[in-house]
Symmetry: C2
DNA sequence: TTAAAGGTGACAGATTTTGGCACCATTTAG
DNA sequence: CTAAATGGTGCCAAAATCTGTCACCTTTAA
């Protein structure tokens, strides 16, 4: 019996029984009274709130609201959560969004600090708006999460991005643009890029992009994307 | 040097240097070659993807997209994240919402299963709509997250909820209602309750509720709340 | 062929964890 | 009041685990 799994067993037992004595716990997890007491102390250090009543009829009691959970997340998952909360916040602060932020802050604290900075910088490139409901959105494709690495690299290292694009008429073309921003108009998601060949901004629906690849190019410039606050000048975007 | 901190040091070094040899790592973290190899093996077991090139010029390389983070979250924080993602999904599926769900699934897997069921059941009571923008929302108060425990208890144990309520005219009254649903009209958040004294549904702005308390009462009935799909019959709600 | 790299197994020594014990403080039953 | 039940602490030896050393293997590039 591992120390970690013994801790888990203790928490589980406390949750199940509501209240329990040290000796009963020791019996349950197959460890000595002394060890269980040390475990309780360790769990308290970890943030669990465990009440104890001393004396006859007393025992230990786990504060159910204080339950901790230990999750192991990958960077793309953290990224997705960050976007979710950022999008929700942009849509109008919900109650609990502070609490969600607190949770995310803990997750971020567990990431290497440079990775956090990268993610935040990427999220700075997001613009979230409201799509007018009369648009025809019958053909929304699923966005492939495999796109993420190339986009992250291109945005953060200020590289060009090259990809295949199927336009609204079903024609496939090869594009190479400076990634300037990401525009979210739920449920659509656009890349806003500066196309040097056309000397203008172009927007690309993410679900029509495939095989993206970050391409180093010294001519990259960060440009001022013509978003004004929450007003999106792209409101006449073809779906 | 702890095992845990040595693992962290190894991951940090691999991230910083991009690629590194076992001997260099051993030197860096002040441990033997053998120990570092054991640590690498342990990290791989934990889910880190570490590529290795054998032979002259080879070395270890951490797959940057596979970076894991170990976060410790409390139940209310998990709850807030669940609501965020649920709300975002209701607002129109964003790309990455699947990824966010995958992350949340991992978090939930780390929770006791009954707690997960409770949280899901609570979230079932949420109705998320769109607030028409012409409403006057100048006086939105902050919702206190301390309200959560009482609401969770009342909803899940089917108990009445008693609270102080300040209405739009600033009058304070004591209410006791059957909690039937939660209505989210960003950025507002309502409790939809059946008030037995008035024999009708009433809605209460959450930021005007204080001192909520769950009260067991055998007369509680689950009622059909007159929401129709996404159409909210409460659209004439006074803010 | 040789040197540089990752990887494995075995074993003794170093370190940490565990169990047992004595003991203390508090509370409730009788 | 007294006794029993409970949480809690300090100490130390035994048990378990971790670590370093060493020998050796495989693969790869010069």
């Amino acid at each position: 019996m591992n120390v970690r799994s013994r801790h888990d067993a203790i928490v589980r037992t406390l949750r199940r029984n509501g209240t329990s004595t040290v000796d009963a716990l020791a019996d349950e997890v197959g460890a000595s009274r002394r060890t269980v007491l040390r475990d309780i102390s360790a769990l308290r250090d970890e943030g669990y709130v465990i009440h104890s009543d001393v004396g006859r009829g007393g025992g230990l009691q786990l504060d159910t609201q204080s339950l901790q959970t230990r999750a192991k997340l990958s960077v793309p998952e953290v990224f997705a959560l960050l976007i979710s909360v950022a999008a929700m916040r942009a849509a109008g602060n919900l109650p609990f969004s502070e609490l969600a932020d607190a949770g995310l802050a803990k997750i971020e604290k567990a990431l290497p600090s440079d990775k956090v900075k990268d993610l935040r910088a990427f999220i700075e490139c997001l613009h979230i708006g409201q799509l007018s409901p009369q648009q025809d959105l019958s053909d929304i494709g699923k966005m492939d999460t495999d796109l993420l690495p190339a986009f992250e690299t291109a945005f953060l290292a200020r590289q060009f991005i090259r990809f295949d694009y199927w336009d609204a008429k079903g024609r496939k073309t090869l594009r190479k643009v400076e990634p300037q921003a990401m525009l979210i108009l739920p449920p659509l998601w656009y890349l806003v890029g500066w196309d040097p060949a056309r000397d203008d901004f172009r927007h690309y629906r993410m679900d029509r992009i495939s095989n993206p690849e970050a391409v180093p190019d010294t001519s990259f410039r960060r440009r001022h994307v013509p978003f004004e606050d929450d007003v999106c000048p792209y409101s006449e975007l073809p779906p």
